[in-house]
């Protein structure tokens, strides 16, 4: 495997991990506040749809992004209503949201565009273009650093850079700000926050709103960054992988970066080597496709200890029964 190949695989890994990273961070906010969210998939899908629809209608990817965020946030709000206000079961609510997004996107898409749930292809300003970092072209020929800068770091859409910036930002918010402190506290022991005179409800709503926002970014990236329009079910299980990555990352932002990178990398490798020839046998494509999942299990079993979720996670905050 030469250097160039490595760069290309890493480059691909960066693209593949971005939606996972955004969704994973989204889940991180929600779950650190004590609200479990298995509806990441649905929110991402809804965002992809609304983003693509509005980007198509306006020809403006940024408006699309706003719509994506709005779509995802709307589902977040439902989740909040169910799991915060009405103290319902967070898992059921998440399952419902996944179903809802899967059905509504196609239903609306068919009603509006009549293409069986697809949106028309986006062109020009409807998509996020690739950003070339300064001097990328000039540096391209410098050995080693050149390709890393010009190929790997440069040439992604704005959302990729936003996603990566979200990691230190999230870390900073969680560990350095008042909001972060309260957010972590409410996921560990909501009664401590309540008796300290802070509203548990408001904090949790804030957390799931951020979750909606980040899922919105993830969905918009799928539809308007990586591809050019919405196709039904296009989230293709990424929300669940993001959830797995979140647990893998033990609900921590830098770990999330690592975990999603691992998923992206494994998928990129499987894409690059669809039939691994081991001399004696050739691993069939099906197993190369499943390789990221198999390796995840192995890594999980071998290297990652017990993941302890936020203590109050999954439980609605009920004072009086």
């Amino acid at each position: 495997m030469d250097f160039n190949t490595i760069i290309q695989i890493l480059d691909s890994a960066v693209r593949l991990m971005t939606p996972l990273l955004l969704a994973c961070l989204a889940g991180l906010y929600s779950e650190r506040s004590g609200v479990f969210d298995i509806g990441l998939e649905g929110k991402m899908l809804m965002a992809a749809f609304t983003a693509a629809s509005v980007a198509y209608a306006t020809g403006n990817a940024w408006l699309g992004l706003a719509a994506g965020i709005a779509g995802s946030m709307a589902l977040s709000l439902i989740h909040g209503l169910a799991s915060i206000t009405f103290m319902g079961n967070q898992l059921i609510s998440g399952v419902a949201i996944n179903f809802l997004a899967s059905g509504l996107t196609v239903l609306l898409g068919q009603k509006i565009f009549g293409l069986g749930g697809r949106t028309p292809s986006l062109t020009g300003g409807g998509r996020f273009g690739e950003i070339t970092l300064p001097f990328a072209d000039a540096m391209r020929d410098i050995p080693f650093i050149g390709p890393i800068y010009a190929e790997l770091l440069s040439g992604h859409t704005a959302l990729v850079y936003i996603a990566f910036l979200c990691v230190p930002l999230t870390w900073w918010i969680l560990s350095r700000t008042r909001f972060g402190l309260r957010l972590r506290a409410v996921g560990e022991n909501p009664a401590s926050v309540d008796t300290a005179g802070v509203s548990v409800t408001r904090l949790r709503y804030a957390a799931i709103a951020i979750c909606g926002l980040l899922c919105g970014l993830a969905g918009a990236y799928l539809a308007t960054g990586l591809s050019a329009g919405f196709v039904k079910e296009m989230s293709a299980g990424r929300g669940f992988i993001a959830l797995a990555a979140l647990i893998f990352a033990k609900w921590r932002p830098w770990n999330a970066l690592f975990a999603t990178f691992l998923f992206g990398l494994l998928e990129a490798i499987a894409n690059r080597y669809p039939n691994l020839d081991l001399g004696v046998i050739t691993i069939p494509s099906m197993f190369m496709n499943a390789l990221p999942y198999i390796l995840t299990v192995i890594i999980l079993a071998g290297f990652v200890g017990r993941a302890i979720p936020p203590r109050a996670g999954g439980e609605p905050y009920v004072k009086e029964r």
Binding site: M87, G88, I92, S93, I241, F248, I294, V297, A301, G305
Partner: protein, 366 residues
């Protein structure tokens, strides 16, 4: 003391929630320019209006009972088994291997043997996540998600490269021998001299599913194992105090859960398609999560929820087949039903409780 009578909690609340879900669904149907009344009529007619509709509704119900029970059993031990999909796929493989390679002269013999095949492979698929959870603390939610993907890959490989008859375009196994075909409910009815549900896929597995509900109920609430499962699910330190081994219970529970998911294959693979096809599970594993949660992880609740989803699935199928309403509408309706009866139930329960309390206080005063 309870805040409201039990019947209000278990019947009135879900009923009102269901009505709310229907009302919102009606709005959605109106919004896409169709008639909610027609939709409702089509669904009810198609799923419950004839023995034919029932034949399908019960078929789907059977699938969901198994996957729902699988999730429910694990849930009692605080294990969230998202892997029903993969375990049911493997169950299908178990059925196929048994029926294709063992000479089984009669269905009555084939059924128990196939059940063993289905349960064993389903359980095997749950074993690794269970063991990793118990011994290594690997989160069962991740591992079961991963195992769903791995199962899909495995099935893809096995069906294309191993079980597919030469020259067939279809990534599916050969047909199972005629002798192993399960009697359908319509056959049984005919045996009793009744014309019922001709050409519908519901088959004797339905009774197996009912039996499974009963057995799971007995397991959870009547056996020592069930007691230990519930104890571990509620508190691990207490379980240790009582001499209950978390490792053993985790593994055993997941084996039972995986086995139940695997057993679904008796219905769809052995009973309906009579061969193993790619994607035979069709998401029933995921619906099982909703079924279990809505059924409050009680076998009877699971049965009711499975029936509801069977109805929605069949009624929705009819809707999509015979009207111009897109099939995704059904997914939306399912979502709303799950949401209102499962997650927003307190929206209905809280005011009801207040109502009952006020009524009681009034009675108490006079």
């Amino acid at each position: 003391m309870d805040k409201m009578p039990k019947w209000a909690d278990v019947i009135l609340t879900p009923l009102i929630s269901l009505l709310l879900a229907m009302a919102i669904s009606a709005l959605v149907i109106l919004a896409i320019g169709e008639s909610p009344w027609l939709a409702l009529k089509t669904m009810v007619d198609g799923a419950l209006g004839s023995s034919y509709g029932w034949g399908f509704t019960l078929y789907y119900t059977t699938n969901f009972i198994f996957t729902g029970l699988a999730v429910a059993v694990a849930y009692h031990a605080s294990l969230f088994n998202i892997g029903g999909e993969g375990q049911a796929m493997l169950g299908g493989l178990g059925v196929a291997l048994v029926l294709l390679y063992l000479p089984l002269p009669h269905w009555a013999l084939a059924l128990p043997v196939a059940m063993i095949g289905a349960a064993v492979l389903g359980a095997a698929w749950a074993l690794i996540p269970a063991w990793l959870q118990a011994k290594r603390g690997s989160h069962i939610v991740i591992t079961t998600i991963m195992f769903n993907f791995i199962a899909a890959a495995l099935m893809n490989y096995v069906l294309v490269n191993v079980l597919r008859p030469v020259g067939s375009m279809d990534p599916a196994s050969a047909r199972f021998p005629e002798s192993t075909h399960l009697p359908s409910l319509s056959d049984l009815a005919l045996g009793l001299g009744v014309e019922w549900g001709k050409h519908t896929p519901a088959n004797v597995t339905f009774f197996v599913a009912l039996l499974a509900c009963l057995l799971v109920w007995a397991l959870i609430w009547r056996t020592r194992l069930g007691y230990e499962i519930r104890a571990l699910g509620r508190s691990e330190p207490a379980a240790m105090y009582a001499g209950i081994s978390p490792v053993r219970i985790t593994v055993v529970t997941m084996l039972i859960s995986g086995g139940l998911a695997g057993l679904m294959a008796i219905n769809n693979v052995m009973g309906e398609s009579e061969r193993l096809v790619l994607n035979s599970v069709e998401g029933a594993g995921f619906i099982g999560i909703a079924v279990a949660l809505m059924g409050r992880n009680h076998p009877f609740g699971v049965f009711l929820a499975a029936l509801l989803f069977g109805f929605l699935y069949q009624g929705g199928g009819e809707l999509a087949l015979w009207t111009s309403i897109p099939r995704e509408l059904i997914i939306v309706i399912q979502a709303l039903v799950i949401l209102f009866t499962g997650a927003l139930d307190n929206m209905v329960r809280m005011p009801l409780e207040r109502l009952f309390l006020a009524m009681r206080n009034k009675r108490g005063d006079t």
